[in-house]
Subunit: 129 residues, 2 copies
DNA sequence: TTACATAGTGTTATATTATAACATTTAAAT
DNA sequence: ATTTAAATGTTATAATATAACACTATGTAA
């Protein structure tokens, strides 16, 4: 098991506490009182946390959320639902979906080791507005 | 059918001719001889071209490729394979996959109008190296 | 323990990606 | 011809991310 370094722990904690995806410079702003002063300190921790699967990057939003599953540390297979109105992001944990995608083979013969899927739409709250 | 404006056409042409995904500032550099001088002129054309489905953004790479299918203008459903070694990107056109994903329903009850999927791995060329 | 290797930190500067704001022009619709 | 919407040109600036270098902590193995 991985034990996080000081900066990694600080930055993981703030992302984990947040209900929304956090952007790097918003994280930076929030951890400056803890002595983390420079973007690079944030990005280095983010890189590591992504690498070990504790957080994920929402590519379409340049933002980071804590992993809400248990298996992402090994699988590198991620799926999210994103509300285009309120920007709520949820990690999808669906074994049918992950099986389907993990077994998917391109006709080009490429074998995939990793995927990222982002669904967009309106969440329950926003659809009724 | 959409008829492209002058800048949109110039920028679409250069992306369409390219064998690789192109980045915005690389596009800018390449079209400066045609009178397009500022980033905003490029980004505005890119936005429109993405909106009408002539090009797609590869989110994990901040780069743009011409659509290689015919249906993306309506579907807003995109899937790509990305080689992590040579960075070759191919648009996946697979009806089983698109059916599966278009019909996918989250247990959260969210109805999706759009998705983007990026697979990562090694292409045929790179896997033998 | 000491040497070595690996990972993490701190700092400054800079590169890359993207948008705000405003004035003007072109094209399309009534 | 008048109005509206879309596109353009321009300057400035915001937001996101990395390069380079010096240093420190931690783990491993002789
Ligand atoms: Zn996860
Ligand atoms: Zn919502
Ligand atoms: Zn397409
Ligand atoms: Zn390759």
């Amino acid at each position: 098991m991985h034990t996080l370094s000081k900066n990694q722990q600080i930055i993981f904690d703030i992302i984990d506490k947040s209900r929304e995806p956090m952007k790097a410079y918003s994280i930076l702003f929030n951890v400056q009182k803890k002595g983390i002063k420079a973007p690079l300190q944030v990005y280095r921790a983010l890189d590591k946390l992504v690498e070990i699967g504790k957080i994920h990057k929402i590519e379409s939003r340049n933002a980071f959320i804590a992993c809400q599953n248990s298996s992402c540390q090994v699988s590198k297979a991620t799926a999210f639902s994103i509300c285009e109105s309120c920007e709520k992001v949820t990690e999808i944990n669906n074994s049918s979906l992950s099986k389907y995608l993990s077994n998917f083979k391109d006709k080009a013969g490429m074998k995939y080791s990793k995927y990222n899927l982002e669904f967009f739409g309106l969440c329950k709250k926003c659809i009724t507005k």
